[in-house]
Each structure stands twice: as C-alpha cells, then as structure tokens.
Symmetry: C2
Subunit: 226 residues, 2 copies
C-alpha cells in the first residue's frame, strides 16, 4: 500500500522531516493531507502501537526518541534478529533469491563507488529486506521489519551524514562479506558477520551523537539522544 495515510505519516518520520522528539499535531497533519482529524488520529495510534512514535495521553504524540541505553539495547536486539535472518537465509534461499542477492550486491557496489548516499541507503534497506524474505518466516520478517522501523530515524540520519560512514564502501564491504557467507550456505558465518555489522553501525551512531552533542554551537536538539 504505497498511499495509505499511515504510510504517509510514517514517511514524514522516515525521511527525516519529523525528527525524534518532534510533536505530531493532529490538526496540522489533517490540513496537510486534506482530511479530518479522525483518520489522522487512527493512523497515529497505529504508528504508536508499532513503536515509531510515542503516544502520551492528553498530549501530542511525538516521534519516539531513544536515550543512549535504549539505543544500544535496540541495536543489540536488532543485531540478533538480523543475524537469525541471515543464518536462515543462508540455508533456505532458493536459486532465484540467490541470484537477486548478487544483483543487489552489484548495484550496491556501484552506488557506494559513486558515493550516492540516498540510493545507497535504499539499497541497504533492500539488502536487509531481502534477507528477511530469504529466511522464509513471515513472523520473523514482521519482527525484523518492525525493529528496523523503530530505529530508522537514527540509522538513516547516520547514513546521510558525510563524515560518518565516511566511505560508503565500508558498510558495503560488510554487506558483501555477509552475502558471500549466505551464498556459500554458511549460516554461522553469516550470523556472526551480521552481528558485527550491526555492532559497527551502533558504534558509528554513538560517535556521531557524541560529537554533535559536545559541539556547543549546535544547541541540543530536543529529542536527540538524551
């Protein structure tokens, strides 16, 4: 469903127009999308239940923000879930899926060489999503996608930032190593490499926030890592 109201509001968060801590004003959103508050409220409740935003009784919903502890917990959980997907995909992917994985890696190679960050971010999603599918378990895929969704406001910001992930080839090479293990049918290696990949992402993200928070010229943005 590319055009559901729920997705449109989620997109505001995912593309960074609304940042962690920002309020979701029902009336503004209603005007913006040309509907009344009723469907806006329903969409907001759904996004609240899926954990992308935080609902506070009698007060505006806000884009969910994580403190340092929550962020590292989220990445630990995601690391394990992604590792599980990767190890299952290594054993369960069929030939068509393995072929598509190669295609994704080729495209990713190209995009990272050209330093096309928006497209590389898309391809990052594609890569992980393809492993979720390859694990052949819809409940696991749901869990993986939900977990990824929750931290996207943070991981996407990192991806777009020059200076962090300075060379897009680094995450690409990690993906490539994972893909090799998957294609070789080596689930244990795939899982281990995936855990390392996610752990690396957390470290980059933490460095990023250390820096932006210590810079006194940048007034602490409400809702960033507390």
């Amino acid at each position: 469903m590319p055009h559901t109201l729920r997705q449109k509001i989620a997109d505001l968060v995912l593309n960074g127009e609304l940042k962690p801590g920002d309020r979701l004003d029902e009336l503004s959103l209603a005007d913006r999308f040309g509907v009344s508050r009723t469907p806006i409220r329903e969409a907001i409740r759904q996004l609240g239940a899926s954990g992308l935003i935080e609902i506070r009784p009698r007060r505006s919903a806000v884009v969910r923000s994580f403190d340092r502890t929550e962020l590292s917990e989220a990445f630990e959980a995601m690391g394990e879930i992604e590792a599980l997907c990767a190890s299952l995909a290594a054993v369960r992917m069929n030939e068509a899926e393995r072929l598509k994985l190669r295609a994704i890696m080729a495209a990713s190679e190209d995009l990272s060489a050209r330093n096309d960050r928006p497209a590389a971010l898309e391809m990052d999603f594609e890569f992980h999503g393809h492993l979720h599918d390859g694990a052949r378990n819809r409940m696991l895929k749901t869990v993986a996608e939900e977990t990824r969704l929750r931290i996207t406001p943070y991981s996407a910001a990192l991806y777009m930032m020059e200076g962090y992930n300075a060379d897009l080839r680094r995450p690409h090479l990690q993906h490539a190593a994972i893909a090799d293990a998957v294609l070789a049918g080596n689930g244990d290696d795939a899982a281990r490499l995936m855990r390392e990949h996610i752990a690396q992402a957390l470290i980059s993200l933490q460095q990023f926030f250390e820096d932006t928070q210590s810079r006194s010229d940048a007034p602490k943005v409400k809702g960033e890592v507390r």
Copy 2:
C-alpha cells in the same frame, strides 16, 4: 494500564471470548463498553498494528488466525527470541531476580501438582515474562511480548485443554530445566532447552488441531487453523 480500552478489547481475545476469525463489531463493542465508536476504532487500529487482530478495509476487523504454516513459523520465531532472552538472562540476572525465579518455580511446582490449569497458565506467563526482564533489554522484551501476544489465542487454548499437556508437570519440568541452566549461568544450555520447550509446545498444538479437525462431530470452526 489495567483499564485502557485497548486492554479490555485485547482481553476479550486473550481470555478466549473472541476466537481467531471472530469479527469485532464496532457498534457492539461500543455499546458493551459504554463509549462511542470513535475510541473503539482507535483501540482496534492499535491492536491491528500489534498483530493481535487483522484489519480489512471496509470490512469488520477479525481476530487474527494462523494457518498451519504461519503457526509453525510463529513458533520458530518465538523459539529463537525466547532462547535469546533465556541466554541473556542466564548471564545478566541479578541476585534479586534469581531469587524471584526460584520463587516462580516453587509456585509452578505446586500448581502443576494440583493440576490448577488457569493458575498454571498465569505462572507460565510469569516465568517467560521474568526471563524477558532478566535479559535486560527493553527492545528485546517488547519484541518478545508482542510475539507471544500474537499466538496467545492458540497457546492458551492448548494449556486449558485437558488431554493435551495431559500432565501439567511436563511443561513445568521443561521450565525447571531452563531455570536451572539460567541459575547456573549457562546461557547456551538455557537457550537450547528453551528452543526445545517451544518446539514441544508447537507439536502439542499441532496434534490438538489435527484431532479437533478430523472429528466430524465438531463442525470446523471458522478461524481455527485452516
């Protein structure tokens, strides 16, 4: 939040008053809880997003039902998540938590000996929930609770049924083995035993549905395993 409308509606599903496939009529629910359709709709959307019920545009929402494949996928995913919780809990639980785990096991011992099924089911929830807490990772806990929530309509039905889990001591003994591993700080054993425990539960559930479906006297209930 013991009294939120969302929880009240969820309880209808969790205590079995509404079974998989049953429709959630907005007006009936509104009358029942003495509110208008608006808050009912919002609650239904939230439960839809958390996966307990299924939302179908322009048609009544229904309690989510799983076919055989989905059920085994759900148990596979849950097995891994619970195993992860157990292995982390084995390493991370503090003394107070370990003490409480012993208390839970003692209570469970008693309840299973007395064949008190409702109370034993409660204690089963308590046991798993305590391991979710012991893993010291709120995101993981959220994921684990959500996954458990989705299959509760099935696992709870099994637990209450005489003849399946014929002797409540069987799941109790599995729990006891897991608890021993956790208390010994042996994460790998805890994880392995937990996987086996969840796999056993799936097998019991599958047998249960094989039987109820093959009995011609029981007209196939809409929404049960298809």
